[in-house]
Amino acid sequence: MTDPHQRPTRGMDGPRRGFRHGLLVSLTVPGLILAFSSAGFGALALDAGMSLGNAVFMMGIFFALPAQVVMMDQIARGGSVLGGALAVMLTGVRLLPMVVALMPLIRDERRIPWRQVLAVHAVAVTAWIEGMRRLPPLPEEQRLRHFLGIGTGLVLAALIGTAAGYVLAGTVPKIVSAVLLFLTPIYFFLSLLATSREAGDRVAVMAGALIGPVFYVLTPGLDLLLTGLIAGTLGHVAGRRWSGMWREDDDP
């Protein structure tokens, strides 16, 4: 896998190249996995009685698969739109800390931050992981452009994937569908291992993986949020302790 931004930059066209190199991320493993996951959503949408146009529109306007599936499922089963909307809010809260965590990497000093508003629309797990992984090595002034490219490419990949999944649903063997659904968790988890270089982040990942299923059984709907707060705080505290052992004068 080649990292597009690691090529030497020539001339003054750095920012534009940053955008185009970002687009290319959609052709790497994460982009393909997102396209396949979106194909899974397309297949579910056909099953739920949704039109192709609405399925593609929903993919683009939400750009967060869990929220889409939750809302579609709720309405398809004859539940209230309000109930579906509340479930959407509960899955949407997890995007907030992701955007907050990404913000220092996509600073924009201009007065009207429309580029950032556009950029954060792409924030869902895939773009977030790729941003946290690819932006820090870049010069600060190239990061926002590069992330806009990553986001644009990933949204396009998701739209194409949704349409393809909708049209092809039911024609692929069952084992292929099963593998498509398996790609998302394994890719997400390996990305977490790749981005968690600090002890605190690693503790947060392990604790989240262990207590997540417990909360899913005990408090479905609130499981992601509660797990995030508890396991994240645990990891944060553990990380501070560890670094504190090396730098004792740090203590308040």
């Binding site: 493993v29 907050v100 950032q116 797990v125 659904l181 988890f189 997540g212 396991a231 705080t233």
Partner: protein, 114 residues
């Protein structure tokens, strides 16, 4: 099957829910993250919380899957998942090796189990 999901009314519902109940979390993050520096304590905490949320999502997708993955036995899902992690480290942190390797173990196990 005709559902509101296939109508223009459905399009408007999707638009309204996305704009009023989903996207605002991203805007709020933009606002709250504005004055944060990358090495502040609040930043490392928020990063840890996001990491934990994604880890929990991973386990949910793996242990309580939807669709055809639910037909694959839990033990095989876990073995394939662990193989992917093992191959990732064995290959010197190559993400594509871990992903493709884990998927290959899943297919092989499913075909052998038939």
């Amino acid at each position: 099957m005709t559902s509101v999901l296939s109508t223009f009314e459905g399009t408007l519902i999707i638009l309204a829910v996305a704009l009023f109940m989903h996207e605002p979390f991203r805007w709020l993050g933009l606002y709250l993250g504005r004055n944060l520096s990358a090495d502040s304590a609040i930043f490392t905490w928020v990063k840890a919380v996001s990491n934990a949320i994604v880890a929990a999502l991973v386990m949910r997708l793996l242990l309580f899957p939807a669709g055809e993955l639910a037909a694959v036995p839990l033990a095989l899902r876990l073995v394939a998942f662990a193989s992917g992690i093992g191959l990732y480290y064995a290959s010197g942190r190559q993400m594509s090796v871990g992903v493709v390797g884990g998927a290959a173990v899943l297919v092989a196990g499913a075909l052998l189990g038939k």
